[in-house]
């Protein structure tokens, strides 16, 4: 599959770009933040995104989706990243929605996916525990009960967990703390007894929650996929979500870089645009190279998923490690090159720095993915 966008993909990109510029510029995120919006994103906007087909972009048409691929999803994610649009794509579509689409049975898919595609239902993936991404490190337990299971544990950093209608909870049904085997996924209604949710307010102004589950009763029908073999679903879900996140990050640092370039061209000091100073020129040129390499790996990773290639896991880790490092570099350089104005809340560039740091940490930072890459390659 070529790394050059097809005409259809270019059209999708242009539509998406125009949509986010008009409907969801960075100012929209600031507004949500300053209003301390209880949801953290605009449900109206999400409805419109659903109408554009984005919420179902990767889901089969039989469930109300568009039946497109990750190449197309990536185009949309990149544009969403450009203006830092707060939206439930990650939580509802790529994490929990994908868990149902990839692991769920026909009943679950028919129940959940159409309402996800229509933008009505919101989901969250209750997976992480503690302060870092360690996919198999799960202490939340699901114990057999007469009718089904009882789930107890504490989940952190659950994207949109505060507003989701349903959760996909990753719990341990057997095995030791870090075992790959022994994980099981459950589809749980947020109103179930024993669930308490605390919204956490984070620097990127998006919505996250800590979720505590205390003896939450679920029936056997809540199981997504096979008991004890949840990691088979989790691995694929995480790879796809991570690829999508990398595309979002690519959009973010591309935009931050372009804004910085404009600033370098227009800000005058010592009688000349600061972009004429060689030290800044070289740093900008180096950033350009990093962005180009990042774009290549993101595009190829998305296509690897669409082609169902064997190298998806190592490509995903390469993309996430590189995009984490690129966003880190560019987020910091962008602020530094903006000078004093760059550290003010009024200037939007700081929003990119903040999003950079959170997305770096989300689904594993660069060091995590380098370790994973090394393991995948057998060293």
């Amino acid at each position: 599959m070529s790394l050059v966008l097809t005409e259809e993909q270019e059209l999708l990109r242009d539509t998406a770009r125009e949509f986010v510029r008009e409907q969801a510029p960075v100012a929209a995120l600031r507004k949500l933040r300053d209003a301390e919006d209880p949801i953290g994103f605009s449900r109206e906007l999400w409805s419109e995104m659903a109408n554009l087909g984005w919420s179902g972009i990767i889901f089969p048409e039989e469930y109300g989706g568009a039946g497109l691929g990750y190449a197309e999803l990536g185009v949309v994610m990149e544009e969403l990243g450009r203006t830092l649009v707060a939206n439930p794509m990650m939580s509802t579509v790529l994490l929990a929605g994908n868990a149902i689409a990839l692991g769920g049975n026909e009943t679950q898919k028919k129940d959940v996916l159409p309402s996800v595609c229509s933008g009505e239902r919101l989901l969250a993936f209750a997976h992480q525990e503690g302060s870092r991404h360690q996919p198999y490190r799960v202490t939340t337990t699901a114990e057999r009960d007469t009718d089904g299971y009882r789930i107890s544990g504490e989940k952190t950093f659950v994207l949109d967990g505060h507003i989701a209608d349903q959760l996909v909870v990753v719990a341990r049904t057997s095995g030791e703390l870090r075992d790959r085997e022994g994980l099981t996924l459950f589809l749980v209604d947020v109103n179930a007894d024993g669930i308490s949710r605390t919204r956490t307010s984070m620097v990127d102004s998006r919505g996250y929650a800590n979720i505590k589950l205390t003896n939450v009763s679920v029936e056997r029908s809540a199981i997504v996929g096979d008991v004890d073999l949840g990691a088979n679903v989790v691995d694929v879900v995480l790879d796809r979500a991570t690829a999508a996140l990398s595309a979002e990050m690519l959009g973010g640092f591309t935009e931050a870089f372009e804004r910085t370039l404009t600033y370098l061209q227009t800000r005058v000091q010592f009688g000349a645009p600061i972009g004429s100073f060689q030290a800044l020129k070289h740093r900008a040129a180096i950033m350009f190279c990093e962005i180009e390499l990042s774009r290549s790996i993101v595009l190829d990773t998305l296509r690897a998923i669409d082609e169902d290639r064997d190298d998806v896991p190592s490509r995903v880790s390469t993309a996430k490690a590189r995009c984490s490092d690129s966003y880190h570099l560019i987020g910091n350089e962008a602020v530094q090159m903006h000078g004093g104005i760059g550290v003010t809340d009024e200037e939007e560039i700081g929003f990119f720095l903040k999003r950079a740091r959170v997305s770096q940490q989300t689904l594993g930072d660069a060091a995590y993915h380098r370790r994973r890459f090394a393991s995948l390659r057998g060293f």
Binding site: M202, D204, N332, V343, K354
Partner: protein, 396 residues
């Protein structure tokens, strides 16, 4: 017993009998005393402590006694600092008057100006702010456009400053103004002092990405300043301005040392707690390596500060060393916070409210605040320019 040892005993005894326990370290941010008319002394003991210390002349120990100091030698001052640390006493007063303005007044001001301003700085009566940068003249400071025109023995000041630290809490400002628009840019600048309560001065705080607002925009509209408030010679202010920047850089350099900071725990201890250990080692070996490197760099930086002081004493040392310390110290401080955020993981990215400890939230805010370190007080790029030119002698 040497004189120095005698002084040590004297200082130790004084600190023991005069330093109330409530004035021991650590010092919560809310209890730091900056002085000035607005100072509220949220802990009443701190007012007494400031009075006692300034009575001794020890807020500015090396300044002459007639200006509120104690006339100590450098060696005595070091002894005093050591004893202060040993007694775990808090600093009685934080002040730009002490760290930045005072030294240049001592060097450049008239006797009358010294007698007027220095004692009030020493006693924390007047809090000063710095009127340097302007919106279009940040790194290119010498391009500043705020004008002062002499009318009837008063300078009439018009213009706008930016990045004025704590302008809203300060009583007086030391301000760079253009007094000769026709001269080349470095030759038409003067160094002026005036009261922030003067008619025509207004202040608008600037919110930073960290959420705090330590800086302001400051506007001057026909502000009338007595002629006597000019420091040094008319149009000769750039020399004073540069010297003051050296003092500012020296002050900022201290940050790199990763002083107590927000946390009582060192990065390695935090990493053990947040990341976990294996055979007593931080479990994430990459993080362990980065922490070791940072700690080493930090210690080398501290050793370099010490060497620089010893060399200054011995009359050696590079004159532009303050630029090196400013550059390296602020980069180190930024690195330190990046590392802290890495250690805390998603817990290091909270903004407010539930789900995060006070210390975690503070770390996040300080991480964001640290991004300004390499911009304020002269950007890292400006410091590198200075080093290349003044220390290395590379051509323009």
């Amino acid at each position: 017993m040497s004189d120095l040892e005698a002084f040590r005993e004297e200082a130790r005894a004084w600190l023991e009998s005069n330093g109330p326990t409530s004035m021991h370290l650590p010092i919560p941010e809310s209890e730091v005393v900056w002085g000035g008319r607005q100072e509220a002394f949220s802990n009443p003991d701190s007012r007494v402590w400031l009075e006692r210390v300034s009575e001794q002349g020890w807020t500015v120990p090396t300044w002459p006694k007639e200006y509120g100091g104690a006339g100590l030698s450098k060696a005595e001052e070091r002894v005093l600092t050591e004893e202060w640390r040993r007694a775990r006493c808090r600093p009685a007063l934080m002040s730009f008057g002490i760290s930045m303005l005072g030294p240049v007044l001592l060097e450049y001001a008239s006797e009358e100006q010294k007698r007027e301003h220095l004692p009030k700085i020493a006693r924390g009566e007047i809090r000063w702010c710095q009127g340097y940068s302007e919106p279009d003249f940040g790194s290119d400071l010498a391009g500043l456009q705020t004008k002062a025109v002499l009318v009837d023995d008063e300078y009439v000041v018009n213009g706008q400053k930016i990045w004025t630290s704590y302008a809203d809490k300060s009583d007086w400002i030391f301000c760079l103004v253009r007094t000769d628009p026709a001269a080349s840019k470095h030759d038409g600048i003067s160094f002026l002092l005036f009261d922030m309560a003067s008619p025509g001065v207004s202040v608008a705080p600037i919110q930073l990405i960290s959420g705090s607002s330590p800086f302001s925009q400051t506007f001057f509209e026909d502000v009338r300043v007595p002629k006597a408030n000019l420091v040094g010679t008319l149009n000769g202010g750039w020399t004073i301005a540069k010297r003051l920047l050296q003092h500012e850089r020296a002050m900022i350099s201290q940050m790199g040392l990763g002083l107590a900071g927000s946390s009582n725990q060192s990065i390695d201890a935090l990493a053990k707690e947040y990341v976990g250990t294996e055979n007593g080692q931080i479990e994430d070996s990459i993080l362990r390596d980065r922490i070791a490197q940072h700690m080493m760099d930090n210690e080398c930086y501290g050793t370099s500060l010490r060497r620089s002081m010893e060399e200054a004493k011995a009359g050696q040392g590079p004159g532009a060393a303050s630029s090196m310390f400013k550059f390296y110290g602020t980069e180190l401080n930024k690195q330190r916070y990046e590392l802290l955020v890495s250690v805390l993981g998603t817990q290091g990215l909270g903004w407010e409210g539930e789900g995060f400890s006070e210390h975690e939230l503070k770390t996040t805010r300080e991480w964001l605040r640290s991004k300004g370190n390499s911009i304020e007080g002269g950007t890292s790029e400006i410091q590198l320019n200075i080093i290349a030119k003044r220390v290395l002698g590379l051509p323009d």
